[in-house]
Amino acid sequence: MSIASTSNASAETDDAPLVVGSHTLASRLIVGTGRYDTMEQMRDSLDASGSDCVTVAVRRERLYDRGGKNILDFIDLDRYTLLPNTAGCYTAADAIRAAKLGREILKTLGNPGADWVKLEVLGDSKTLLPDPAETVAACRELAADGFQVLCYTSDCPVTARRLKEAGAASVMPAGSPIGSGQGLLNPNNLRIILEYLKEDDPDYPVIIDAGVGTASDVSQAFELGGDAVLLNTAIAHARDPVLMAKAMKHAAIAGRHAYRAGRIPKRLYGTASSPAEGVISTRPYGSNA
């Protein structure tokens, strides 16, 4: 085993890498770059997560009162594939504009992320729940324009199916509302989405995006059969973001291992791990009770 083999969730095992469209990622954890106290803390957290793909947002440059640092000075573009998002857009038209602007910057930077986008079209600023109609419309148009579209969506199986039909390279159902930390609120819907989208297409990537609160949520997402997890706030707003990033990395490894290993079925009654024969004890309720 080489030293490099401990660097991420896939390389620690004989697991296949994550493939989304034309992109192959070593880690199955995609992490966001928002909401950190400092750029340095973000950089160290990304490093600790073992991820090789990070999301970024497109925003107006503060041309006239610029005192801040640019995030690009803190992200190693040779190490990370950037995944630009359309966060903050409420219409298909605005999301398409944001996607094209992000692509233009990434093309200039020479980053491989120039040909894909995390599509997020919100329907409501309080819940941050996605607008399914606008998301489907934007997905179709961006896919036709050559983008590989990774679609943030709710945990609705019907919408997920529509997005795949609209040409999404990956459908990314939310575990719970963005930044809410509520974990996976409806695992049954996520199971149905995985069943629908992978039926006759087992390698189609489904990424659980949003709502993660702590490490066990990540493990659960993989145990359900998710191909990857995308998270941000659960690391950035943890008391110790770098330590939480490590926890998320290990949770991804643990959950993915468990999924591939195959969990035992749940049973109502206990089944002894130690042999029933040769015991020196007597049973208070007889041998069958």
Partner: protein, 67 residues
Amino acid sequence: MISITVNGRRVEIDSEMSVEQLLDTVDVPPNYLAVEINADVVPRETYADTIVRDGDDVEVVTLVGGG
């Protein structure tokens, strides 16, 4: 003088200028930026030839942290 809008702010400039000239006036590495005029992305290779005209709505964006 012509009047343009840059990132939602009305700005008066002496005369029409290229996108390249406009970006020369800001203190940000141009490879960190993308430019839109009237909701259409301006490809980088056309910055020198694309002229910002009176009444244009210009957006200059960069990448920031996000999830």
